[in-house]
């Protein structure tokens, strides 16, 4: 579903991504781990063209999206994103947050979109919070609402950039629970996370990233049992 061919990204003097090639198939859950500053977020953002790769090709459903006329709108409709800091729209109610993009981007009727949004909010356990503003939600509730917002566009894939890093520990579980419930529903997920237990349990595969490269790309079970590279072994030793 997603294919990266020799992606690089340079920020000024900084070589952040140094040639990444990888493929993710439909419905797969990939966990991206690695030390901070290694380029995980940048790589993730290259997938939905929040960052335009300096070189290399990004293919979504076998279509290259970053060559010629960049097909930003197309990729954004197919690939959703969930941010570390939720980024809910504070001037809209939770329901409006979820229904906004379907109405304005997909042109769905308000009534239909709100109906759908309500269902999604129920699905993430926020059925009773539809009409409150984000400022009245706890961190965990905000992130669940943000997930509902991403889901409302009915994307084929969702990219999660450290979805639980900004949460108080007691709220991590509820968010991971929601993400877990999405796994193996056919939706493709790429999750940057420091929750190793969660990665081991939910992910099909793990990308271990360091210095702008995928140092190791293995099935999750294998990776956690016996990481091949020395760096991955050291990294795991430090975080576990």
């Amino acid at each position: 579903m997603i294919k990266l061919e020799n992606i690089t990204k340079i920020f000024g003097p900084l070589d952040v991504i140094r040639g990444v090639s990888a493929e993710i198939s439909q419905g797969e859950v990939v966990s991206v781990i690695g030390p901070s500053g290694s380029g995980k977020s940048t790589l993730l953002r290259c997938i939905n063209l929040m960052e335009i790769p300096t070189s290399g090709r990004v293919l979504i459903d076998n279509e290259c999206i970053n060559e010629g006329r960049v097909k930003i709108t197309k990729v954004r409709k197919k690939v959703g994103m969930v941010f570390q800091h939720f980024n809910l729209f504070p001037h809209m109610s939770t329901l409006q947050n979820v229904a906004y993009a379907p109405i304005k981007v997909k042109g769905i009727k308000r009534k239909v979109a709100e109906e759908q949004a309500r269902k999604l909010l129920e699905k993430v356990g926020l059925g009773d919070k539809a009409d409150t503003h984000p400022s009245n939600l706890s961190g965990g509730q905000k992130q669940r609402a943000a997930i509902a917002r991403a889901l409302a566009m009915e994307p084929e894939a969702i990219l999660f950039d450290e979805p639980t890093s900004a949460l108080d520990p007691e709220m991590v579980k509820e968010v991971l629970g929601v993400i877990k419930s999405l796994a193996h529903t056919g939706i493709t997920m790429v999750i940057v996370t420091h929750e190793m237990g969660f990665a081991r349990e939910v992910a099909d595969r793990v990308w271990f990233i360091d210095e702008g490269k995928i140092q190791e790309d293995s099935p999750a079970k294998e990776f956690f049992k016996s990481p091949k590279s020395k760096r991955a072994q050291d990294f795991l030793k430090n975080v576990l």
Binding site: N48, M50, T73, R76, K77, G80, M81, F83, H85, F86, N87, L88, F89, P90, H91, Y100, A101, K104, V105, T132, H133, S135, N136, A146, R149, A150, M153
Partner: protein, 510 residues
Amino acid sequence: MILFFEVEPVTISLQSPLRTITNGALKELKYTHFTYKNMGTFTIKLKSLLALVVCLFLVACQKENVDNCEKPLIVMVSPDNPPFEFKDTGIGGDGVLGFDIDLINKVGEQLGREIKIVEVDFSAIIPGIQSKRADMAISGFAATERRRQSVDFSDPYHSYNFAVVTKQGTTVNSHKDLANMTIGTQLGSTHETKSQELAGSLPGMKVYSLNKLPELILDLKKGRADAVMTEEVVAKKIVTATPDLEFTVLDDIGRESYFIVFPKGSPLIGEVNQALENLKSSGQIDQLVSKWLEGGYIEDFDFSWADVTYILGGIPITLGFTIASIICGFIWGGILALFKVGEIKPLNWFAAGYTSVFRGTPLLLQLWIVWFALPVELTLWQAGILTFSLNSGAYISEIMRGGIQAVDTGQMEAAKSLGVSYIRAMYDIILPQAFRKMLPSLTNESITLLKESALISVIGAPDILKRATSVGVANFGYFEPLLTAGALYYTIVMIVASGAKLLERKLRLP
């Protein structure tokens, strides 16, 4: 503009040099613009502010010599010399009345030509006539040798004695008593010349000049002047208006006469002299003398309810002007702000340069340039609103840029990630949040604009301030009208401020 520098630099106004200069120059140049408009030949496309400044000089340097008998005769008047030329705002009108006005209209009747009165500052009349911006001027002018070098005069139409106005109790029996006194006179007047002449032989006599008679009276009351030199009838009017003053006729220093002023070599002089002769012989001038100068005309010098309503009439003008400027400035500021936060380099540069120029130059200067340098036909309103919008656009764009950049970048990211276009995201997501952050600063800017709107009185718009000063001139008293204007501005500002507070509260996020 050139003319403005040609103003006879005899004495420098002490009290309000800026206003003196701007009033005169602006009114005068407004008039220049007007004549060129009629010529209909002036079309220059402007590319930049630089070109604008060039045009300023082009407009000023052109000379007009079209003489069209169909057109009304343009007559310059400085309406601050009751009972010869003044505004009686007490009766609610905005026109100029007085002895000179009636006289010139009668002359017009004799010539079979319509008369069009143009108000300018006294100091701007001679230079204005010199460069033929009007067909003639009437404002109690004496024919001094110095003036004869630059303009021509009619035969005299009225003669008078000099007089000094003093506080009650100051003894002046003859001109000799003016020794050791500070004498206020009207800038550019014969009284000024006469006073300076006297000062040459009287020890300790000092002479200074201001633009308007009421300002001198105010100085007199405050003790900044010991006496104000003027002429008999005017002195009489002043003393009627202000009871604690008295006047003394100085019949030992010769009489002076009034003349109509013409551009050098004007073909009208002969006709006008003939008309004056006819008016004299038919007794019509005597009628005017008894109507205006011998107490037949009763003026109301008190600050009356009619004056208040006249000043209140400035509210729609001040408000309309301010609101229009805020709306246009808001739209233009919004566009500039988008230029600033966008990623197109030339637009970034343009917006930054624009803001820098408009914030770095006086608003009054900008108003000048727009008002008389733009070769486009602009009404007073258009020029005022254009200038204020261009100016406030610069400030508002900064406020908006600040507001937009104060919105968390994650908001735009989230919108983008949902496939929302940049413009749409700006409109739906960023601006509503930015607006809440900007509201206090926008309110401030609106209030500033409201207060600065008083500047349009400089180019002649009858707004609150302009009306208040007119009333002040007519009543020989500035205090009440200015206080009224102040109270009006303050009330409006308070209403705006509390309206903004309400809106802020309403928009506050839960």
